[in-house]
């Protein structure tokens, strides 16, 4: 039995279709990544799964029960980490986790233990009795996660849990996601950071404009773009580099210029490295470094949509 099963889900806001006929199946023990740019419909899908949003068509099942028929059962088995931090500034970290845990029916002796366990899990044990007012962004994010854990849900849904935080907190969060998974939790993880998704997710769905445009394991997805390869060329100054001219070279499918690096993607079956280098040397642009890049999820997205995940 899949932990979550979404069939032909459609959600409209007025005339705008936010989720367009999406079907996903999340199996026990997976870390399921939903990758997509801003406005792709990730949060909308999540809100539907959590029973917070009605939908226009389709079917959503959690642990074999329909969310519309049995919302209480479904909600009880889900832990949600919302995209926006949802905690009380006037309650201590401990009180925050405790309050939300009690809403799921926890009480008595077990309650305190579970709350401490959750705080310990996100590394906030020694801050249990401090108030979130004094917390850094990363600490608030971690508390936001702890609030979803104390009732030990079977399915944990994290909606961009690492937005806008320092690398240290981010690594901590990614590690805890893996640890939760090892403890037997199934996890849905949305992000528009493809590196994150690539690092932790066992299965990935790429969403754009409310549609699933690709789905599979990391390797399956990368196989889509196996016929491309990338080369990153670092120069002193990108002033004189023209993306347009580079694209005229045979086999080049995409050019991106960022800082002092020119990232060029080409079809694998055409060997055009010599022509690319010639372009630089011919225009008197000294090369500082040349790097060959294996395809990543960014390339996958790029290839599928012609756009980048993030600007």
């Amino acid at each position: 039995m899949p932990v979550a099963k979404i069939e032909n889900l459609v959600k409209k806001f007025g005339d705008a279709v936010a989720v367009d006929n999406v079907s996903l199946q999340i199996e026990q023990g997976e870390i399921f990544g939903i990758l997509g740019p801003n406005g792709a419909g990730k949060s909308t899908i999540i809100n539907v799964i959590c029973g917070l949003l009605s939908f226009d068509a389709g079917k959503v099942e959690i642990l074999g029960r329909e969310i519309k028929r049995d919302p209480v059962y479904c909600k009880r088995n889900i832990g949600i980490v919302p995209q926006d931090i949802a905690i009380y500034e006037d309650l201590s970290a401990f009180e925050n986790v405790k309050f939300f845990a009690t809403l799921y029916g926890l009480r008595g002796m077990g309650l305190k233990e579970r709350v401490e366990e959750a705080l310990d899990f996100v590394g906030l044990k020694d801050k249990a009795h401090s108030y979130p007012k004094a917390f850094s962004g990363g600490m608030k994010r971690r508390l936001n996660i702890a609030c979803a854990l104390a009732h030990r849900p079977k399915l944990i849904i994290m909606d961009e849990p690492t937005v806008g935080i320092d690398p240290q907190s981010r690594n901590h969060i990614l590690r805890s996601v893996k640890k939760l998974n090892e403890l037997g939790c199934t996890i849905i993880y949305t992000s528009h950071y493809m590196e994150e998704v690539e690092e932790i997710c066992s299965k990935i769905a790429i969403i754009d404009h409310g549609k699933v445009i690709a789905e599979g394991t990391k390797d399956e997805l990368k196989a889509i773009v196996m016929n491309t390869n990338g080369v990153w060329i670092t120069v002193d100054s990108v002033h004189q580099v023209s993306a347009e001219r580079l694209k005229e070279i045979k086999g080049v499918v995409h050019v991106e210029i960022k800082d002092n690096t020119v990232k060029i993607t080409s079809s694998a079956d055409i060997n055009n490295l010599d022509k690319i280098i010639l372009y630089f040397t011919g225009n008197g642009i000294p090369l500082k470094n040349i790097e060959s890049k294996a395809p990543d999820l960014e390339t996958v997205f790029l290839t599928l949509t012609g756009r980048k995940l993030r600007d």
Binding site: F13, S43, N47, C50, G51, L52, L53, S54, P71, V72, K75, R76, I78, I80, P82, D84, I85, A86, I87, Y88, E89, D90, L91, E95, F99, F100, T102, L103, Y104, G105, C147
Partner: protein, 392 residues
């Protein structure tokens, strides 16, 4: 139900940690009572001068004047009849008590009373002339009436026999000062004080309920509402939790104010405390309902705050929370009939005037109807936009 309870506790916990909210909830009602006390305390202070024209020059009238003087509420000034107008218009006295000739006589033979205890319109009854409003004279009127009541009781006991009355009167005078003070209460003053204190309490109850309801908007803003709804909690349970927290706070406000009035400041309310309590609790429901409506219609806290101020203050003014409704124009009194506060205050005034509790049933029913209507409107509105999408 457990979840509603948990939500209520959580709301209360946060309220308790906000100094500003606590002040609105608990300190302001206390200040309201004190303000009402001060407003009424100043009336009848020694800054008011009472002229007395004693045309009777009898023992009895002398004692009456003396006893008025001893009360210390007024400066007493003895006048002749022809001076009344000059003194009054010049403002040297605020009001004049005229005790006609034959007063003692008519007391002694019992002709001043009509037997039921009311003072008969009678030439021999004292009159009060005043250019200030009722407020200035009410106390004297009360006092004199009670004094007369005592005399008339004696007179009745004496059965019109002058000598027996004389004997009784002497006994009365001897052991009397304490007795008089005990018996004579300035009812107008403490009745007014009660109504005004309750008026302030009503306003602060409304403000308080608005503040607590505002927690809903805050929870939507800080997204905890989202998390609560993601837990197995229905929007209905959520609102119920807020109402429960609100009821508790209203209860505290009422108990605090009533305790302060009756036990600390010892204001005689002339309404049994349980009845007062019941009326106020019913009105508490109205306040909570209104708070929910405001929150249901407002988009953010600023809007809610503005709406709250725009609604609560003027309606409290119109409905006689701050001053008696009777002093306002007829047209305003008409409008006031459509305000719930009016009915609560009217109920209290009726009870003060001696009505039985059953006679204010209509008032209570109207207050309850207001509360019910408010809850229904709020519920309808919450139902319409309870989908969390509006807050994502």
């Amino acid at each position: 139900m457990r979840n509603a309870w948990l939500l209520a506790i959580n709301t209360l916990k946060q309220t308790a940690r906000k100094k500003g909210t606590l002040i609105i909830l608990l300190v302001l009602p206390v200040i309201g009572v004190l303000v009402a006390m001060a407003a009424y305390g100043s009336i009848g202070s020694s800054s008011v001068t009472l002229g007395v024209v004693d045309q009777d020059h009898s023992n009895v009238t002398g004692d009456l004047v003396k006893s008025l003087d001893q009360e210390g509420q007024f400066k007493i000034l003895s006048l002749d009849e022809q001076d009344i107008e000059t003194y009054l218009t010049a403002g040297k006295v605020d009001s004049v008590l005229i005790i006609p000739q034959g007063f003692a006589e008519s007391i002694t033979n019992g002709s001043i009373t009509n037997g039921t205890g009311d003072i008969k319109e009678n030439l021999a009854a004292p009159r009060l002339v005043s250019i200030k409003g009722e407020a200035a004279t009410a106390w004297v009127q009360n006092y004199t009436n009670l004094y007369l009541q005592n005399l008339q009781d004696l007179s009745q006991a004496a059965g019109g026999n002058g000598e027996v009355f004389e004997a009784l009167y002497h006994k009365y005078q001897e052991k009397n000062v304490a007795l008089t003070v005990n018996k004579v209460q300035d009812q107008t003053k403490s009745k007014g004080m009660t109504t005004q204190s309750i008026g302030f309490l009503i306003m602060f109850m409304m403000l308080g309920a608005g503040t607590t309801a505002d927690m809903i908007l805050k929870e939507k803003r800080n997204r905890t509402y989202y998390r609560i709804c993601a837990a197995p909690v229905s929007p209905r349970t959520y609102v119920l939790g807020n109402v429960m927290a609100n009821l508790f706070l209203v209860l505290i406000q009422i108990i605090l104010t009533l305790f302060l009035m009756s036990k600390v400041l010892r204001i005689e309310t002339f309404v049994p405390l349980p009845e007062l309590f019941l009326i106020l609790m019913l009105f508490g429901l109205v306040a909570i309902g209104l708070g929910l409506i405001i929150v249901a219609f407002a988009n953010d806290s600023v809007q809610a705050g503005t709406l709250q101020t725009l609604i609560i203050t003027p309606t409290c003014m119109l409905s006689g929370c701050f001053w008696p409704l009777a002093i306002m124009p007829k047209s305003v009194q008409r409008i006031a009939e459509f305000l719930p506060q009016t009915w609560a205050i009217a109920a209290i005034e009726k009870l003060q005037a001696g009505s039985a509790f059953s006679q204010v049933g209509i008032n209570l029913a109207i207050i309850l109807a207001f509360a019910l209507a408010f809850f229904l409107i709020a519920a309808y509105r919450f139902g319409k936009n309870n989908e969390v999408k509006t807050f994502i």
